[in-house]
């Protein structure tokens, strides 16, 4: 119990003093997870829509693949990206290993299948008549996609939340491809791991509390958006 209370105290002290680059780590975490969620959305949303709205051989297999991809272990995603970006790897020349960009790539790899699977499921769950009705109303392809996406907006927000939740809480991939470099690739999760390895449980708890507060703040924003969308 004392440890938890110490953790609260330490978190408060770190936040008020800004020691141990806590502001930098928190800001970096927000930027990296925000970017990777955005990248995953930009890839996953159209893929999910395409998977739900087009008929082609192997469609079921791809849906199953996306569903399976929701459970991709961050360590495996990190390993794949590390091999690819390693100096001797296929994209080693880009020099991205141990950079925030590498973490973004690995986290996008984790979040994309989640967004694809939830988007496809959300659109497939819409009544078939609604698709016909939108077409019958004279919608062209882009108007059709906009209106169908709008109809599925609540589950799509769930997809965003799930994708963000997956990347903000992962540590294995960030550690593997980012290297936890102070001032460069250290994020809240990797910093917490480092503090534990040092035996500084108070510091680790403090980072944990900040991470939870960060997730709660993002969830509150998305929930507000969701409620507004429901009322519209």
């Amino acid at each position: 119990m004392d440890l938890i209370l110490d953790g609260f105290g330490e978190a408060w002290r770190l936040l008020t003093t800004g020691e141990n680059d806590i502001y930098g780590i928190t800001l970096r975490t927000a930027l990296i997870t925000g970017t990777s969620t955005l990248v995953a959305l930009l890839i996953g949303l159209p893929l999910g829509l395409a998977l739900a709205l087009t008929r082609f051989p192997g469609q079921r297999g791809l849906v199953a693949l996306a569903n399976a991809g929701t459970g991709i272990p961050p360590v495996v995603a990190g390993l794949l990206v590390a091999i690819t970006l390693w100096r001797s790897g296929p994209l080693g020349a880009l020099g991205l290993i141990y950079t925030p960009a590498a973490i973004v790539i690995a986290q996008a790899l984790i979040a994309t299948p989640i967004i694809v699977a939830i988007t496809a499921a959300a659109v497939m769950a819409l009544p078939p008549t609604l698709h016909l009705q939108v077409r019958a109303m004279g919608a062209d392809q882009s108007q059709y996609l906009w209106l169908i996406g709008r109809e599925a907006r609540l589950p799509l927000l769930v997809a965003v939340m799930a994708g963000f939740g997956a990347v903000v809480s992962e540590v294995g991939a960030s550690m593997m491809v980012g290297g936890n470099l102070s001032g460069e690739t250290r994020v809240l999760t990797t910093a917490a791991v480092l503090e534990v390895s040092r035996g500084n449980f108070g510091g680790a708890l403090a980072l944990g509390f900040i991470l939870l507060a960060f997730i709660a703040a993002i969830a509150a924003v998305l929930t507000t958006v969701q409620h507004r969308a429901r009322r519209q």
């Binding site: 009544p127 008549t129 609604l130 016909l132 009705q133 939108v134 077409r135 019958a136 109303m137 004279g138 919608a139 062209d140 108007q143 209106l147 709008r150 109809e151 519209q232």
Partner: protein, 390 residues
């Protein structure tokens, strides 16, 4: 002797093409043809009802006509323009479709109408007044800010109709728009739709399984059986003169072997049946669909073949009437059926079983049960006869 060939005068051909023309259309699903229509035309301003049993292909026909389902073969034309993939969106914007489920978008009632108007390219300034006008006409102005999930079934159908008519479509497609509604709401909505179709003079294709909807709303009716047009013609004529036993049975006739009826009826000469496919259209043009879409009934031949008995042609005589004993035929009630206020008796008459329609109240008043013996008369002028196949 040389005879002068007759002078052939052709009726004046109007330049106006039909609002909807379906030519040689085949729709295949898997290994089965679900629709096969040689020719079907709806003239501008006309309402054509499509009736048929479940699985006959009615909704497929409607989706095909509304350019929402690609055809495997054949042509669908709207207002003289054959549908092509490239022009589908532009052509659809001349039409509106109302489905069995209202399929309202998850936005307010007002925005549902405004979105439809926007998709049809109606200028922004015009959308609000037109929306208000149509909500008023359908009696749902008070629901303008309501969300679809708060509406009753009847209200949602009204919104769906308002949304469809607000875009001023040249043709409207209605796929069982009032199914799954209570009788009262349905009756009101059919009346409102009838008035709208008359006022707007919109060309309409109505798919329904409700005969009374077709009779109230449609200028002509087509009967679709197993994906094929079995008969098409002016609605009143079609209900009185089914072209084949299959159509007659679908329309509720009892079809029996002529020989099984009492001798007096079996030899009755029903009036000659007019060709069921004489499709005089509102424009005045008479068209003759190809022979594969209609079945002309054979000429009457007393004593043989099949006879179709419309339930409304069978009348129960008053048991207390002095003349009832000497008039009509004796029949035994085999079953008492009924729904939505309309009753039906299955009667054993001679060796045949025929159906008689009568109000449910009358069934209750007369305490008719299985085994009751009644006297009936049959309006022989309304019987339809088909020769047995050679």
């Amino acid at each position: 002797m040389i005879t002068t060939p007759p002078v052939i005068t052709t009726p004046p051909v109007t330049a106006t093409p039909p609002a909807l023309a379906i030519e040689g259309v085949r729709v295949r699903r898997g290994k089965r043809d679900v629709l096969r229509v040689s020719t079907l035309a709806v003239t501008e301003g006309e309402t054509l009802a499509v009736l048929g049993p479940n699985g006959a292909g009615k909704s497929t026909l409607l989706l095909t006509a509304a350019l929402l389902l690609p055809v495997t073969e054949g042509t669908v034309s709207l207002f003289g323009e054959a549908a092509t993939r490239r022009h589908l969106v532009r052509m659809r914007r001349q039409t509106a479709t109302v489905f069995q489920e209202p399929a309202l978008l998850d936005m307010t009632v007002r925005r549902n109408l405004e979105t439809a108007l926007a998709l049809h390219g109606v200028p922004r300034a015009e959308r609000a007044p037109r929306t208000a006008d149509w909500l008023e006409r359908l009696g749902i102005a008070h629901l303008a800010t309501a969300m679809p999930h708060t509406l009753s079934g009847g209200e949602a159908r009204r919104v769906s109709l308002a949304r469809a008519f607000a875009v001023r479509p040249r043709a409207i497609f209605l796929d069982e728009p009032f199914s799954a509604l209570d009788l009262e709401t349905r009756t009101e909505l059919v009346g409102d739709l009838r008035a709208l179709l008359r006022e707007e003079r919109t060309t309409a294709l109505l798919v329904t399984h409700d005969h009374s909807e077709a009779q109230l709303l449609a200028d002509r009716t087509a009967i679709l059986i197993a994906g094929d047009v079995a008969q098409i013609g002016p609605t009143a004529d079609l209900f009185e003169r089914p072209a084949s036993p299959a159509v007659a049975e679908f329309l509720g006739y009892t079809v029996v072997q002529a020989a099984t009826l009492p001798p007096g009826l079996a030899t009755t000469q029903p009036p000659s049946v007019a060709p069921p496919h004489a499709t005089t259209q509102p424009s005045g043009l008479a068209t003759t669909p190809p022979s594969d879409t209609v079945r002309r009934p054979p000429r009457d031949s007393p004593g043989g073949g099949l006879i179709g008995v419309p339930p409304s042609a069978v009348r129960l005589l008053d048991a207390t009437s002095a003349t009832s004993a000497s008039e009509g035929y004796t029949a035994e009630v085999r079953a008492v059926q009924g729904a939505l206020g309309q009753g039906r008796l299955l009667l054993a008459l001679g060796e045949a079983t025929i159906a008689a329609a009568l109000p449910i109240e009358e069934i209750a008043t007369r305490r008719l049960e299985r085994g009751s013996v009644v006297r009936v008369t049959i309006d022989a002028a309304r019987l339809v006869r088909w020769n047995a196949p050679a």
